[in-house]
Each structure stands twice: as C-alpha cells, then as structure tokens.
C-alpha cells in the first residue's frame, strides 16, 4: 500500500484562545515508527486525540486508513487502533484479567486473547489480583497489553516506558519492533527517552503546538549541525598546547573536544598522532541533544535576541 496510513494536512486544533496544535502536516506510512517529542503542553496528546478521532480538528484535514477518524465510516477501523493514554488508572477493584477481558470484549475479542496478552507483557502471575495492588510498572504493562489488543494496525503510545524497569523497557521495545515487522505503524509519544533512538524511523519535535522539526535521526542531526564530542584519554595537557586541537576546547568541558561533523576525521587523525593516547571516545549528538537544540532554537527565535544562549553546549 502506497497511501500513508495516517496523514495530517495543515491540521490544527484550537480551544477558545488557546492553539493546542497549530497547522501540522505529516504522513505516517505502514510499518513506520514515529517518535513524537515535546514538553508537556506541546500538543502531543492533542495530536493523538485528533488521530484517534476523539476530537475533531478546528482546521485542516486528517485521514486515518483513508477516512476521517471522527466520522461514522471510520467506526470499524477503531478496533484496529491501539492507544495507551498517558495517565490512566484502570478499574482498581477489578483484577487485571477482568480489566483486560472487558477491553478485549469491547474490541470483539475473547478472554483467551486477554490471557495471551497478559502473558506477553509478563503479568500472568498477577492477573487474578486486583489492580489496586499493582505497582506502577505492572499498571503500565497492563496498559500496554490493553493497547496491543487485536494486533492493531496503528498504535499510539503516550509515554509508554514511564515506570517500566530496564528489562520491561527492553521487552516493550522488542514488542514494538515485532509489531513493526508485522506491518503495524506506531506513534511513540514522549519527553525524550533514553534508548528510543534505534527503535524509531522518524522523529517529530513539537513545542507549544508547533512542529519544529521532522525527519529521520540522521536528517535531524544534519539539520541541527551539532558538534561531535571527542574525549581523548591519556593526553593530559598536550591537547591544550596543540594549536590545531585547542580551538575545539570549550570552557565548561576542558577534556572534551567539540568538533563539527565535517572536521571529525581531521581531528581524529591529529589525535592519533599523539604518542600518549590511551583511549578515545567519540559521541555524535544523541536524540536528546538534537531535541534540546531545536527547542532552544525555537525559544530564542520566540524571545528577544538578547537572551540568546551560545550555540555550542555540552
């Protein structure tokens, strides 16, 4: 299928005076994982609600699986969409299995399906216990199991790894990768998550309802033109004395060279020529730094130029 699974064309949502989401245009293809990043109030949840069809756009057009998600025709598509809300506390007095069975039935699946899902997220041992006895991580797993009901074609996950321990996080990403290889599309919504990078195809950065940047990580990194951090070990003071190298040193991190991408190889060669070099760490800008970059760029363009911060930061 060449048509995108989800497309937003100049879509926006306003509440009275507040523009929760300004015009956003984006397309999500089948089998694609999109990361949606932004602070609280950036419009992430609004965008998800628009795609889910829970609210209608104030302007622009939204299509999910070829239909407007808030229309009557899109009704039967809803069982193919999974959603994990950001703050959800399931019926406390019910057991995990009862909660999931209820949600499964509403999507037209059986109790058996619910049991399988609970096994998949690893809370089979607690499924006969009331949800009120669950820990934060277990609740989150239950929420994920809920989103996975019926092998959805489209998954919208709001802060999916909050409260998950590292192993559960790894299991979660494994499931995402698996769903992706089955042709499902995923929108992962988050403040910046460590470890999310290798699981997403593209990223979107939102701030105060505005789309700041969108693209693959490589594209975003290029766009941001952030320097590479090179940390030589064992050279002691000789870097500061080397006139080719000391220009890349900054005051706040005296042992790290901040080098523009295109000069990276040049600098590395220079460093390798030093006798005392024991080890070398090369770090390209991670998602978090890219994210910070676009946000600070947006803030400085919104504010007066005098408050502008220096471009290069650790």
């Amino acid at each position: 299928m060449s048509t995108p699974l989800v497309s937003l064309i100049d879509a926006g949502k306003s509440y009275q005076q507040l523009d929760a989401l300004k015009s956003v245009t984006m397309h999500l293809n089948q089998g694609e994982v999109m990361g949606l990043f932004g602070h609280n109030g950036a419009g992430k949840t609004t965008m998800m609600k628009l795609i889910l069809g829970v609210i209608s756009p104030s302007r622009g057009k939204i299509e999910v699986m070829g239909m407007a998600p808030d229309s009557k025709e899109a009704w039967h598509c809803r069982s193919k969409v999974g959603y994990l809300p950001e703050n959800v506390s399931f019926y406390e007095q019910l057991t995990g299995l009862e909660v999931l069975t209820y949600f499964s039935k509403l999507k037209g699946f059986t109790k058996k399906h619910a049991i399988d899902l609970l096994e998949q997220v690893g809370i089979t041992h607690a499924m006969k216990r009331q949800v009120k006895t669950y820990s934060k991580g277990m609740r989150q797993r239950l929420g994920l199991a809920q989103a996975f009901i019926g092998e959805p074609k489209l998954l919208l996950l709001d802060e999916p790894t909050v409260g998950l321990d590292p192993i559960a996080t790894r299991d979660f990403y494994k499931t995402v990768d698996q769903l992706k290889s089955n042709g499902s599309s995923v929108i992962l919504c988050s403040h910046v998550l460590p470890g999310v990078e290798q699981h997403i195809d593209r990223a979107m950065i939102l701030s105060t309802g505005q789309l700041l940047a969108m693209g693959t990580l490589a594209e975003l990194r290029q766009q941001a033109a952030l320097p590479v951090a090179i940390k030589p070990i064992g050279l002691n003071g000789s870097v500061a004395n080397d006139s080719k190298l000391n220009v890349f040193l900054t005051a706040n991190c005296p042992n790290t060279l901040m080098v523009p991408e295109q000069e990276k190889i040049q600098v590395l060669k220079q460093l390798l020529s030093h006798e005392g070099l024991d080890d070398l760490q090369v770090e390209t800008a991670n998602l978090e730094q890219v994210y910070q970059h676009f946000l600070s760029l947006h803030e400085s363009s919104a504010q007066t130029p005098s408050t502008k911060t220096p471009g290069v930061q650790g």
Partner: protein, 272 residues
C-alpha cells in the same frame, strides 16, 4: 447491542462486587418487613397492619431512600472514569457515547431494579402467606414497579450530574443537593404555596406542579389507590384531583427517558 451488553455486564458486576446489590436489597427487605409487622405499633398494636397503611408507610420511606441510593450508586459513573482516564480510552474503542451511556444505565439500573424487586418482593411474599389476600400482590406490584421507575429516574438524573461536572467531589455535592431538592424542598415549597398563597393554586394546578418531581409522582401512584384516611398533608389534596394510574406511570416513565436523553445529548457535546 453487543457493546451495550458488555458495558452493562461490567457495571452490573461492579454493583455485585461493591456489595451494592446485597446492601440495598437488605435495607429494603428489613425496612419493608419491619414496617409490615410493626407498622401498627403507632396505633398501639403489634402485628400485621392494614395493607394500605403498610404501603403508605413504605412509600413515604422509599421516596427518600430510593433517590438517595440511586444518586449514590451512579453519581461518579462518568466523572469518575473521566478522572481515572478510562473514559477517554473507552471512547477510542469501537463504542459510541450513547452505547456507553445506555450500557451503564442498563447495568446500574438492573442493580437498583433487582434490589427493589428482591427487597420489597420478600415482604410482599411474606405478607401474602400471612394474610392470603391477592390484593397484596397487586398493590405491591404497583409499588415495586413505580419504585423501580423512581430509581431509574434518579439514575438518569445522576448521569446528568456526572456528565456536567469535572470533579468527583463536585458531583457528590450536586447529587446531595439534587436529593434535597426533590425529596424535601420541593414538597415544602408546594406546601408553602398551598398555605401561603390564598386562592393561588387550584387542585389541578397542584397536581400538575407535582409532575415536575418524580418523587411526588411516585407518591401519587402509591397513595392514590389507598383509603385517603391513611394519607394526609398536601398529598391528600392532590389525590382528590388525581390523574389516572396510567397517566402517572407515563409521567414517571417520562422522568426516566427525558433525563436519559438529555444525558446522551450532553455527553455527545462534552469535550474531552
């Protein structure tokens, strides 16, 4: 329809789990059996009182209790789920707002209806075995059906409250005020109108005013069939100009359908 039943089933089981069904049934059973046997105590005798006295005292108690119980049972149905986030989640499911509302109504309504039937039905059966009078069955049938309608009406009214506010505690406050207005204040106001304003209101007018309160319709349904010697106060006046039983039941039924329709309307326009 399947969706409605799934929701209804869940709500009904919630009612069982929270011991709502058992406690309401017990309250009603104890009350009605107690009133049946000791209702005559006021006139100095212990034993089964006359049927009309029993029904009259049951009705005047039920008119306070049933609305209170219905409001308590349902005031947080929507605002509670909104606070916990499940309402938003449910609406992303293939489940329409009216299906969700009707499902809840059927589930919680069944709890009230079943509790009323079992609670008051038990004393009807007991009384029937004691007296063997078939009139008991018919008067209790009227009483139970109207009590169920009264309960359903206040369930629908509590949905209105639950959908109109954004906090659970506010919903509780409004539910209490609603109960106070319908169960107490309305009658006092009517009485004040009757006594305070000379030539102000005719009997017909009074009865029409009473149609504005489901609790009063319930009273009229149950008291109009009785000897008026057992009934006094503002009601006695109204009963003399009474409407037919069918009309009263229709009015009570309208008090179920109307709030429910308005609740669906509000829900559909509600922002999430």
């Amino acid at each position: 329809m399947k969706q409605i039943l799934t929701v209804a089933n869940k709500e009904f089981h919630d009612g069982l789990r929270n011991r709502w069904l058992i406690s309401i049934t017990l309250i009603f059973a104890l009350l009605s059996i107690g009133l049946t046997y000791f209702g005559a105590a006021a006139s100095g005798a212990v034993g089964v009182a006359s049927l009309s006295t029993t029904v009259a005292s049951l009705a005047s108690l039920a008119v306070f209790l049933i609305p209170l119980i219905a409001l308590l049972l349902s005031y947080d149905s929507f605002v509670g789920e909104q606070e916990s986030g499940t309402l938003l989640l449910l609406l992303t499911y293939p489940l329409s707002k009216s299906q969700l509302l009707l499902g809840k109504f059927i589930g919680q309504g069944s709890i009230i209806a079943l509790a009323t039937l079992l609670g008051f039905g038990s004393s009807a059966v007991l009384l029937y075995f004691q007296l063997g009078d078939t009139a008991i069955i018919t008067s209790f049938a009227v009483f139970i059906v109207s009590a169920i309608l009264l309960g359903l009406s206040f369930t629908a009214i509590s949905y209105l409250i639950s959908l109109s506010v954004s906090e659970k505690s506010k919903a509780a406050g409004f539910a209490l005020i609603t109960w106070f207005l319908f169960a107490l204040a309305f009658d006092l106001a009517l009485l004040a109108l009757l006594v305070g304003v000379e030539q102000g209101i005719s009997q017909g007018g009074l009865t029409q005013l009473m149609m504005l309160n489901p609790a009063d319709i319930f009273r009229l349904v149950n008291l109009s069939g009785l000897d008026s010697s057992d009934v006094n106060g503002a009601l006695a006046v109204a009963i003399n100009a009474s409407l037919s039983q069918e009309q009263l039941f229709t009015a009570l039924f309208a008090w179920v359908v109307l709030p429910l329709s308005i609740a669906i309307f509000i829900f559909k326009r509600k922002k999430l």
